[in-house]
Symmetry: C2
Subunit: 257 residues, 2 copies
């Protein structure tokens, strides 16, 4: 969500009509796939997905044609939810081992899109990662502030907060989207974050990897100890000033460098 978006930095973002919103958020229930994938396609797409989630694939631009149905099935069936729950469970297991100092400096970092908030309603209407990313319609979706919580992450968020972590959000969204982002977070059930970083003008043109590393470094320089970090992109997790433990959430729909 980071790169192309920056071009729109100075555009004012008008709220779209409710009618338009309704057309965006309709998802087809899809527990059983309408198109049955061949055994070869499943093998291919499972392996493609392995390389995406391990970061072996490196930069990739869109879901391969033959995997669009696979990604749709994955995202709208049980697997996405299950993988997200497993990642949250691992995160919580680690979080429980952290000794909280009580000085308010123990931090857990969360990304927002496809981490705290799910844009699945948008991507369901836009080919599940098979279409070229379109800043304009995505920004309209963001302005609706109606993205639902990723339920596993909401549970984790509440539990790490309960454990005494300060919660810091670092998103590739830009400063003009601060208000709608906060509104959406509250709508989805999140509250009490310590800090919300969005891209400012000075971050323009930086990769997410560099921008997010710099924000973590700022936190460290202020004395915060970053124990855990949760994100659906490797650029949320790698770079410098990395957390003691990083947790990769699933996302076979898009890649951000």
């Amino acid at each position: 969500m980071d790169s192309g978006r920056l071009l729109l930095f100075s555009l004012s973002l008008a709220l779209v009509s409710r009618a338009f919103s309704d057309s965006l958020i309709r998802i087809t229930p899809d527990r059983r796939s309408s198109t049955k994938l061949s055994r070869d396609d499943v093998l291919f797409c499972d392996s493609w997905r392995f390389t995406v989630e391990t970061n072996d694939a490196g930069v990739w631009v869109s879901v391969p044609d033959r995997c669009v149905q696979w990604v749709k099935d994955y995202m709208t069936g049980d697997r996405y939810r299950s993988d997200s729950e497993f990642a949250a469970d691992d995160s919580l297991s680690f979080a429980k081992t952290v000794q909280i100092a009580g000085d308010g400096k123990d931090v857990w970092v969360f990304d927002i899109d496809e981490t705290l908030l799910s844009n699945l309603p948008y991507y369901a209407a836009h080919g599940f990662g098979s279409e070229a990313f379109d800043d304009s319609t995505f920004d309209e979706w963001v302005n609706l502030a109606e993205a639902p919580a990723l339920q596993a992450s909401l549970r984790l968020y509440r539990e790490v907060e309960q454990l005494g972590f300060k919660i810091v959000l670092i998103t590739g969204r830009i400063e003009p989207q601060r208000n709608v982002t906060e509104k959406n977070l509250v709508y989805a059930g999140y509250s009490n974050w310590e800090r919300l970083f969005l891209r400012g003008r000075a971050d323009s043109g930086k990769t997410a990897l560099v921008y997010k590393s710099e924000k973590r470094r700022e936190l460290e320089d202020e004395g915060y100890r970053i124990h855990g970090s949760s994100g659906d992109q490797w650029s949320d997790l790698l770079g410098f000033a990395i957390a003691r433990r990083s947790f990769k959430l699933p996302n076979p729909m898009y890649y951000i460098p």
Copy 2:
């Protein structure tokens, strides 16, 4: 393969009889699983595997009971081969973009076990990662020097060598295993590596992550440029002096810190 093994550092390792070897390397052909996994088990094991391959799981000791059959099916069916091929393809795509300087300092690093060599014959006879690791029988297997090549890696190895990379091997195996390891590599089709690092006495007690990072640092200090690194464990790839690009090969059978 790294930790417990060190205890045996000074033991002399006798060659085992051919009869014993035969009992080790028998794998049951298993294209169709004998035990059919339930839908819930598949969902569970797919997600467990996601957390293992992304490193979300962190330290794990053995394959969960309900996933032993899943791992057996995965390792002996098409998926392991397919995932390995995809990882090799990604590696080669990157390798082809590297400008080789011609000074003999451009390096690709490979791990050995479950990267260049497959110990699947051993693990097939030992529960596919469900049994506690046993140094004694594994060392007997190593001494046979009959581990087959992981075919995708053999192809990659030959192609990166052809491209002009120097090949460096960094393994958790120990110095007393140098001869059998070289013998096995040659047996499996590998040749012309620039350097083979095994754990020496000074590396005793170090995690693989630290030991392997130190060896990469040594290479850097000698002026080598480490472009790519291939390994089945995150401890092959992370730490310091990391390669420009790292490639995680699949391994749902065991974890090495």
